[in-house]
């Protein structure tokens, strides 16, 4: 039977078990919207900005493990999702982004709302393509879902010219794909596993470094067994935290620019670093020449191109993390690491600066710990900045507590829409968006989406009246010249306002949302209780904090990991 391209699109989404479509209309997708209007199986989420749309799909994908699906119009609709595509690409999130496109005859003519979105996104997607022939539509959609979700996941852009979508053609949606230029990653190479296992067995000061790839591979359980069996200490990247419960005695903490004191020292002194699903980003390594100077490095990653890119690796293992962990476990014999553990305990004791003494003071650490203690099962979605690092430091993570954050790209404005996406995929779980006063304002129009779609996310705004992370750098490295970071002033500090703009609580009221401004611990606990009772609506808790609070420890860019600033002078 011959059907329209728009009809095949609906059929394809149903075959891919897409239950949510994050979509914003425009002239190049109006016929697709018309088709969507006539069906009930796919729920349409209409955001208030396309950038938020793609972050919502991203939050949904990260929290469910499914592929997030987006639909936007051509031109500005497509360019508005570029930041979100790059965000998903850096953090290996499976997304399929359908973009409307002008009629085929107009392509390349600078037509109204025409951009070359395939070209624009070439460097920030796993794959991008335009479907110019109606007969290729089914195959292209199938390939897009397959590419996005297999191997190292990532975003795929599919550009759909409007006239092609209205053309009649085959109703067939293929069940399988064959792409001769797409390489599947096979089983871990035996020789390298043997070599790595021997190195782990013989090391005196071994250390596991786990990244987001470990969780993407769902290797948590087996990795937990490997750690139990070997007694080898574990450090993580921000994306990897929770790969083993953060309360596990073998878990030291995060490493990198805002890593913990003991973790960063452990990296610098270990004699063997076994990295699983981490790509040695510059925020993790500090100065690469000085990174882990005494260590041989085993690097397990599904992406060949991530290996030996930033640091030289002794044994590369290109493989799925779970399979590699399983085989390492079978091959290795644990050694005696008592001396090594004694040293690590010493560093832990030395790091007094990381544990604020008085929990009753309304510090960022206290805020995060209060949220942490309040809920046993929780998805926390952060924005980007100081609050993100505090959450990464203080939130406990395990199989019931997940943190979702823009790690690689560091996209301000990500948090709130991604939290909405996470809640849409997890209606039975508490979702808390921890955000800053800066980042929240980058996508706060989504309050309308949250209300309209009845999404009960708890929004905790850590309001320090400034762009805190940049301010922190200005504080520590630029003579406290707070250029462009004070949100209560304009014209280089010449003009000040007495009250923060906007009043987030009154803003919430205009959307019909309840909220409260809090400035101490007991108020926060009460507010969280009230917020968790809010059904089918978001709730805003604005925590007023001191702009001079710093994220510590900190390793300045281009320094070695053991050169940490641990307290404010």
């Amino acid at each position: 039977m011959n059907i329209k391209g728009t009809q095949l699109f609906i059929k394809a989404l149903a075959a891919e078990k897409t239950d949510l479509l994050f979509a914003y209309p425009g002239s190049a997708v109006i016929s697709l919207f018309d088709e969507l209007y006539q069906q009930q199986d796919i729920r349409i989420i209409l955001p208030r900005h396309e950038q938020a749309l793609v972050h919502q799909a991203d939050g949904y994908a990260r929290s469910t493990g499914k592929t997030g699906v987006c639909l936007v119009t051509s031109g500005p609709g497509a360019t508005n999702i570029v930041t979100g595509i790059a965000t998903a690409n850096y953090d290996s999130v499976p997304l399929v982004c359908f973009c409307g496109q002008v009629k085929r005859a107009l392509i390349g003519n600078d037509a109204f709302q025409e951009v070359d979105i395939v070209g624009i996104t070439r460097g920030i997607t796993k794959h991008s393509m335009m479907v110019t022939e109606r007969e290729n539509l089914g195959k292209a959609i199938k390939e897009a879902f397959y590419i996005a979700s297999t191997g190292r996941p990532g975003p795929v852009v599919v550009d759909l010219p409007v006239d092609m979508m209205e053309e009649y053609g085959s109703d067939e949606y293929p069940e399988t794909v064959q792409i001769r230029s797409y390489r599947e990653v096979g089983a871990p190479p035996k020789d390298q596993i043997k070599e790595a296992a021997a190195m782990l067995s013989n090391a005196k000061r071994p250390l596991f470094l786990i990244g987001g790839g470990l969780k993407k591979s769902k290797a948590e359980q087996r990795f937990g067994q490997l750690v139990e069996q070997s007694g080898i200490p574990v450090v993580s990247t921000i994306m990897g935290k929770g790969g083993i419960p953060s309360t596990h005695p073998c878990y030291i903490g995060n490493v990198g620019m805002h890593g913990c004191y003991a973790g960063n020292h452990a990296v610098m002194k270990c004699d063997l670093l076994c990295s699983i699903g981490c790509r040695f980003n510059d925020r993790i390594t500090g100065k690469t020449d000085l990174f882990a100077p005494a260590a041989k490095i085993i690097h397990i990653d599904i992406d060949d191109a991530s290996i030996s890119r930033n640091v030289a690796v002794t044994v590369p293992i290109v493989s799925d993390a779970d399979q590699a962990v399983e085989q390492l476990m079978a091959e290795m014999t644990p050694g005696d690491y008592n001396v090594w553990w004694h040293q690590i305990s010493q560093w832990r004791q030395d790091s007094a600066a990381e544990s604020p003494a008085d929990e009753t003071i309304f510090t960022p650490a206290a805020i995060i710990r209060t949220i942490d203690n309040m809920f046993e099962e929780l998805i926390v979605v952060t924005d980007v900045g100081q609050h993100q690092m505090w959450t990464a430091q203080y939130l406990h993570q395990n199989d019931k507590k997940q943190m979702i954050t823009s790690g690689g790209l560091g996209t301000m404005g990500f948090g709130f829409p991604a939290a909405l996406g996470a809640k849409l995929g997890n209606y039975d779980k508490v979702v808390v968006c921890i955000t800053g006063d800066g980042g929240f304002q980058m996508n706060l129009q989504e309050l309308a989406t949250a209300v309209m779609e009845k999404i009960s996310v708890i929004v905790v705004i850590m309001n320090n009246q400034s762009l805190g992370m940049v301010r922190q750098w200005q504080n520590l490295m630029y003579g406290r010249r707070y250029a462009g970071t004070d949100l209560m002033s304009s014209n280089q500090g010449q003009q000040q306002v007495s009250d923060y703009i906007p009043d987030f609580i009154r803003l919430g009221e205009s959307y019909g949302i309840n909220g409260i401004r809090v400035s101490d611990q007991s108020q926060l606990e009460k507010a969280l209780e009230d917020a968790s009772k809010a059904i089918a609506a978001p709730y805003i808790i604005e925590c007023m904090i001191d702009p001079d609070q710093l994220v510590l420890p900190m390793v300045k860019g281009g320094r070695s990991l053991d050169e940490m600033i641990v307290e404010e002078k």
């Binding site: 070209g119 070439r122 796993k126 991008s128 390489r183 191109a305």
Partner: protein, 79 residues
């Protein structure tokens, strides 16, 4: 820094050349030479590329080309 040459078997399709060119441009490296022509049944092309690089960049470029969808095979050519 050594002269390198690679022979790529690629899909004869829109955007594949742009992918290869983008990879080099994104790393701020110059392609010294390039020739592309269709082979066999015209569904594939051969792409000869020449560039100057050190060993580490050479390895990295090969790996990144290998993960490009559209590039079917990569062969090293002796300069």
């Amino acid at each position: 820094m050594t002269e390198r040459r690679l022979l790529l078997h690629v899909e004869n399709d829109v955007g594949v050349l742009a992918k290869v060119a983008d990879l080099f441009a994104g790393k701020h490296y110059n392609l010294e030479s390039l020739s592309v022509y269709p082979v066999a049944d015209h569904t594939m092309s051969e792409m000869h590329i020449g560039f100057i690089s050190d060993e580490q960049l050479y390895l990295q470029i090969k790996k990144q080309l290998r993960r490009c969808i559209g590039i079917v095979e990569i062969r090293e050519e002796i300069c």
